[in-house]
Symmetry: C2
Subunit: 204 residues, 2 copies
């Protein structure tokens, strides 16, 4: 069996990466990763499904043990992607899909350079601004901050392998799925199978 791939999608707030991520998880057998967090569970959240809930002390021990692919602080809570379940899924032939920020991509690429990183962007910044405005939840200040952050994120494009311009979300989902298919067909991901075929067919 071929080993699964680790696919990471990222991109600015408003570009649609969350929708693309959840649709792909819904439509395919790709595995998502369950994060570890130090924040308190909210009503209805289930350990091991929504998150692995850990104390700050436990979390720090996991960091020290090198258990994370990436870890980040958000509003004084820690969130991290544990390595073991991800690599277990990949060993079993499943592709694993992550949605992380650009710092997370850098961290994952450092620990696992074979990870495939896809940047999700709107066709241009004007469209990004329109989509953020359409949410109706942004002030002029927060809009400015988000657009500045988006520009900084895009300027790190060299971290990524692919960029998908999300004009129409169903097309963008298809393109991400095409990228995953193409990655599975890479020679480098089929060497074992090719070697096995060649070994079966020894020259007579």
């Amino acid at each position: 069996m071929n080993k699964g791939l680790l696919i990471v999608i990222s991109g600015p707030s408003g570009a649609g990466k969350g929708t693309i991520y959840s649709q792909i998880i819904k439509r395919t057998d790709m595995k998502r990763s369950v994060s570890v967090t130090t924040r308190q569970p909210r009503p209805g959240e289930v350990e091991g499904v929504n998150y692995y809930f850990r104390t700050e002390e436990q979390y720090q021990q996991m960091i020290a043990a090198g258990d994370f692919l990436e870890t980040a602080e958000v509003y004084h809570n820690l969130y991290g992607t544990p390595k073991a379940p991800v690599f277990e899924n990949m060993k079993n032939g499943y592709n694993v899909l992550f949605e992380v920020d650009v710092h997370g991509v850098r961290s994952i690429k450092k620990k696992y350079p074979e990870a495939v990183a896809i940047f999700i962007m709107t066709p241009d910044f004007k469209t990004l601004e329109q989509r953020l405005r359409a949410r109706g939840t942004e002030t002029e200040d927060s809009l400015k901050i988000r657009l500045g952050a988006a520009r900084r994120e895009l300027s790190e494009y060299k971290l990524f392998d692919y960029i998908v311009f999300n004009d129409e979300v169903d097309l963008a989902i298809d393109e991400v799925l095409d990228i995953i298919t193409a990655e599975k067909r890479k020679i480098i991901n089929n060497e074992e199978k090719i070697q096995a075929l060649l070994a079966e067919q020894d020259e007579e």
Copy 2:
């Protein structure tokens, strides 16, 4: 406009590369390349559509001038892929699709390393043998020769970027199209566009 890609498909006789090639040319706006040849035109063949027909002397002059991406001799006739129309199409944003043998792939990769090379293979050698037998045109000897050649071609897999196992031809066509989409989304093929977006959105 993004520059077009040069996509090369190859693989053993019987694996279905010819069908995949012609279906993709039919269904997409990809450009094929018209070969130059020294063989005599057959009835109905049109200069510049089927081939560019040249004398042996003219052909040798083209070789000397470095006009070819690849050239090969088949049954005492020369066949070659002229560079100029291919690069002209790519400059105009068209992807160009070739069907060549493994030697052709090596030659093209040498002259244009950005070429994307896709190996078309049956799921295994047994299937290849069955498909060759089903043609009803192979003797036991020619079958043996073709299977030996197929093994040698597959053993050169490191020349290629991708491998598509052609089990059901419509799926194989889709996979080749997915690979082409993925290649178009590679960061390396979108740097100009990304730079332009960043330039428009200078930090305030």
